[in-house]
């Protein structure tokens, strides 16, 4: 009897997860098209937030470069979309973002705290303005068209990216690298002194998180069909993951997912009728969370 109970305790959440994923995978077959599109957007936010949390969660280095990595994916999709098949485009989106993040990460080894935050934001904005300037002066027109892809395909790709991000986040958390990342967030100097190659670990983790952002950008571009630097590198893409992760809480794996899902749905519900009010609401939520729920929703559930 005990064995059954223990078994069901361990496999129950896993079974639930599989059931849930199966549900999501078969959605397009019976759900309204609007719901499929909505879910795709939610997945996008979840991927951005979860991948942000892969690096920024344990290390406590708040990155505001998400827009840069997402945008790189968006632009690659526009540039390569006509020449290459979709899977390759997405892989490239992820890969180039990965390399960019590796480069930025190795460059900023010595920057900590505030400096790191504003540096990542500066890089993001630099890229945005540079693309704007480049397109104005060299391409002739600002913005590009992206090869459109069927909405169901977009949904599935996004779902796959989500599952991959989730798997990566989970495996990292449980590995010795996840533990090491947390120690970097706690006492970086001590982590260095017990043999952890902090520089490499930070850079690689940063790059891994960027990979998924780039991939997400590459597929979302096909939905928008027209993109320009302000859309691709919108600072909101840097701010939202932070807001959603803080709201959900970075202490557990489900925190960023829950936070992103809830706020993404909220945005969808409010965006058409109350465009400015929903951002106002997000700002209020953020302040309330910081004041009273510093560990986010995760902290709220842990207390019970």
């Amino acid at each position: 009897m005990d064995g059954v109970r223990v078994l069901s305790k361990r496999f129950f959440p896993l079974g639930l997860l599989c059931l849930f994923l199966l549900l999501l995978a078969t959605m397009p077959l019976y759900a309204q098209p609007y719901l499929v599109i909505l879910l795709t957007t939610v997945f996008m936010y979840v991927v951005l937030t979860l991948s942000w949390a892969i690096f920024s969660g344990p290390t406590r280095y708040i990155s505001l470069a998400s827009a840069a990595f997402f945008g790189v994916g968006v632009y690659l999709s526009a540039i390569l979309g006509q020449a290459l098949p979709l899977p390759l485009v997405i892989a490239f989106g992820g890969l180039v973002s990965f390399i960019l993040a590796l480069f930025i990460g190795l460059l900023t080894l010595r920057l900590r705290g505030m400096y790191f935050i504003i540096f990542t934001f500066g890089v993001s904005e630099l890229i945005r303005h540079f693309m704007l300037w480049w397109e104005t002066n060299f391409t002739g027109t600002v913005g590009r068209f992206v090869v459109a892809v069927d909405q169901t395909a977009v949904y599935y790709v996004m779902l796959v990216i989500f599952v991959m991000t989730l798997l990566t986040a989970h495996l990292m958390r449980r590995s010795k690298f996840g533990l090491a990342l947390r120690s970097i967030g706690e006492q970086e100097e001590a982590a260095l002194h017990i043999g952890i190659n902090v520089t490499h670990l930070k850079a690689i983790t940063f790059a891994i998180s960027a990979f998924f952002m780039g991939a997400a950008g590459a597929i979302m571009a096909t939905r928008w069909t027209y993109i320009d630097p302000s859309i691709a590198f919108n600072p909101l893409s840097s701010f939202m993951p932070v807001l959603m992760a803080i709201f959900g809480g970075t202490g557990r794996l489900y925190g960023p997912i829950l936070g992103a899902a809830i706020l993404a749905f909220l945005e969808e519900v409010l965006i058409t009728k109350f465009t400015y009010y929903y951002m106002l609401l997000f700002g209020i939520i953020l302040i309330v969370v910081i004041l009273f729920l510093p560990n986010g929703l995760v902290g709220l559930f842990k207390r019970r």
Partner: protein, 288 residues
């Protein structure tokens, strides 16, 4: 010669604005340890309030300086007294407070910007005030820009003297350098921190008024100025208010020179300088 004057005066005009906003941010960060990313939103509020006052009540922007500045000072003071002071009390370390206050100011950014969007909608606004041309050393400048320059420089100087000569100013500088000791010496640290934050908002308000005199404005304008303020503060040295003053003018001149060659490159130039600075000498040119 004419081009040179154009560039220099243009640089000083922008530099004056940059100096104001940088000093404001520096006060909030250097003393209060709050990196206020909503700083630009206060600038935007100052600009829009001026626009409304001029468009609907015919009040001159120069008078608005006296209205908007103190109003925003009060808003900033109250925000610090409530939000940031509470956070400071709750934080277990300076690092934790730095992070949580940054995030809280993000929340403020969303809130303030969207209140503005609700009130004024997303349209670009502008008004003309004193835009007749004035001839200066053979170059033509519009009067409002010259007046803005005058006020920017004037306010900066006045503030500099305030910091170095007045009792409150000295208390502020003491609090910036060593809060613990300052408190022991009888300085009401909580009051000083809130005043500093309020003064930061005051500077932003002034800058906003002056900006509205020269350029068109829209509710999303704030973030760009916040970033420029951060760049100047890093350039001049985090914590050095004099550094922010000088850094503002330096960046303004650099911007003017770059704009002469290609207007679209000025912001890029700022960011490149910023990034190089952070990588090579994060403490800034004049910092400690």
């Amino acid at each position: 010669m004419v081009i040179f004057l154009d560039v220099v005066v243009g640089g000083l005009i922008m530099g004056g604005i940059y100096a104001l906003i940088a000093v404001g941010l520096s006060l909030q960060y250097g003393v209060g340890r709050v990196l206020n990313v909503s700083h630009g939103e206060f600038i935007m509020l100052g600009a829009f309030a001026t626009w409304s006052l001029y468009t609907f009540l015919g009040i001159s922007p120069l008078v608005s300086l006296v209205i908007c500045g103190p109003a925003l000072f009060i808003v900033g003071f109250l925000i610090h007294r409530t939000l940031f002071q509470y956070l400071r009390g709750k934080s277990e370390s300076i690092g934790a407070f730095a992070d949580s206050s940054l995030l809280a100011s993000f929340g403020l950014l969303f809130i303030i910007q969207n209140i503005a969007l609700i009130i004024w909608k997303a349209d670009i606004r502008g008004y003309s005030y004193l835009d007749s041309s004035v001839s200066l050393f053979g170059s033509l400048f519009s009067a409002n820009r010259l007046i803005a320059l005058l006020f920017a420089v004037g306010i900066s100087l006045a503030f500099y003297f305030f910091l170095t000569r007045s009792r409150l100013g000295k208390a502020i500088r003491a609090a910036a350098e060593d809060p613990a000791t300052a408190q022991v010496m009888g300085v009401n640290i909580h009051l000083v921190l809130a005043i500093c934050f309020g003064l930061g908002a005051l500077m932003a308000g002034f800058a906003g008024v002056l900006i509205s005199m020269m350029y068109e404005i829209q509710p999303a304008m704030g973030l760009e100025y916040t970033l420029i303020a951060i760049i100047v503060v890093v350039l001049g040295g985090l914590g050095s208010i004099t550094g922010s003053l000088i850094g503002g003018f330096v960046l303004g001149l650099i911007g003017s020179i770059v704009t002469y060659f290609d207007a679209g490159l000025s912001l890029i130039a700022y960011y490149v300088i910023f990034i190089i600075l952070l990588l090579i000498r994060p403490t800034g040119i004049l910092g400690n």
